[in-house]
Amino acid sequence: MSDVLKYKARVLDTKSQSFCGAKWYEAVIFLGSGKTMSCHHNPYHEVSDTAVLENYKAIHNTSEKKQQRAEMLRGERSEGCNYCWRLEDNNSVSDRVYKSQKFTDADNQLAFDSDPNADVDLQSLELHFDKVCQMACSYCHAGYSTTWAQDIKQNGAYENVESDKQQHYKYQRKIDQLFKPNQENLYVEAFYKWWDADLHRTLKELRILGGEPLLSPHIWRFIEWFKSKDTECSLEFVTNLGPKVDVPRFLNAVDGKQVVVMTSMETVGEHAEYTRDGVDYELWCKNVELCLQSKTVSRMSVLFTVNALSMFNMCDLMAKIIHWRSVYGKDRINMSINILRYPVFQNITVLSDTARQQLATTLEQWLELHRNYITDYEYQQLERLVSYVRVVDAPDNLQDVRKDFKSFFTQYDKRRGKSFKETFPELADWYRHI
């Protein structure tokens, strides 16, 4: 039995068949829209403003989460956690096992023994102040980017994208910013109050996201405030390091604290600038180097969102990262490889089988040549990607999904002043025949 299965048997199964420590100790909170979820696999839900005005801990301890905790104590499967149940039904180890491992056995036991209606202090938190963002990546939407919202406002909804069941490309989603930029936000204030009361000692990791967090009107107050606190909590920023991001000011502001900088990129040059609309690839490289030169940045991570258009030049980016390791130290920068699943028409399976096999082979050959330059974890992630690209079934309605791909990028080209065929000549024929 593997270590992780032994852990599951010893710590989780002795409690209930559905217990997950993350339901108590971990959260993603959107302060701009007043929403929360326990982890990335859950759908988010609204946080009651009236509850937060009475009790600041309600930004995490919502009645919905309390109900789900009660279900977990009874061994019932909460509906929002279907991602894990599906994996477990396929005899795989689900994320609830890995997530629970982040917390001590004693804390998991404490959660299990507690009243499900009690308020619990967080240990791991992803905080989104707002959705202010200067970029509008093809696979993002107006819920996370004000520039995306501007596209919908100016040009209207994207039409004929049938697989967009969540209507991401239809609405400006102004409602995802409940407060004006410089207005007092009751959810932000609740976070600060909770920090002063308890989170400064219970929180072990705090990750700041956006939008683009370094463009948020809240960010400088937050950094000054964090620096003034005595805490062991680690601080991470997920930033696009794109235009308008004042990297020297950021590095100066966080000076004195050790921070982790995570930045998104999955390919290079024109390809990167096509999908990550608004990014300047060369500027991004310079900004990465500025961070690597800074002593206040303890570590960097490049977050790859591997999509249908990113794998053609992905190896060039990995080579660049290996080069940075040789200059700045092998532990200073790593890669995190994530496969984009939604929107489904930008998932890698939309491509032809021939293209997929070629991309898998290229990556496999690169891996063989560079095995000694990447970590075991990176190697495993890339191996998993090779296998995904080679064997994962395309959706049943592949032709419809491809129509969505073409319909979306035709409109995207017009709105953003781009050309799919010129940027991806290797896909031009395939694209024309969709």
């Binding site: 829209s33 009651s48 009645s63 239809k170 409940l178 407060f179």
Partner: protein
């Protein structure tokens, strides 16, 4: 003038909308489906999604938020969404807004 009352998905919302319409010497057309005529309409976030509501509101001249208690909503999700919509309308001055305080649960 077109007025929209935003409330819970119960008949109380229709009743209050009628009272407000009478006070303004106009009529309550009921649930806001066909909204061509002037007068009062009502909606709840059980009828449309919060994203749809964002654009739906734009066709009205004035909005009324019926301040019904949480206990009058059968779904907490609908209640919380309605509160979020209120915050959005108020903070961004989306449309002229009146909050109707209710003495008893409605």
């Amino acid at each position: 003038m077109k007025y929209l009352c935003i409330g819970n998905p119960t008949s109380a919302t229709n009743d209050i909308t009628t009272r407000l319409a009478v006070a303004k010497k106009t009529i309550n057309h009921g649930l806001a489906i066909n909204t061509e005529q002037e007068g009062f309409y009502h909606i709840s976030l059980a009828d449309i999604s919060i994203l749809e509501a964002e654009t739906f509101l734009e066709q009205f001249d004035e909005l009324y938020f019926l301040d019904q208690g949480k206990e009058t909503y059968s779904s907490e999700l609908v209640y919380n969404n309605t509160r979020a919509l209120l915050l959005y309308i108020k903070n961004w001055n989306v449309k002229p807004l009146k909050i109707v305080k209710l003495k008893s649960p409605g």
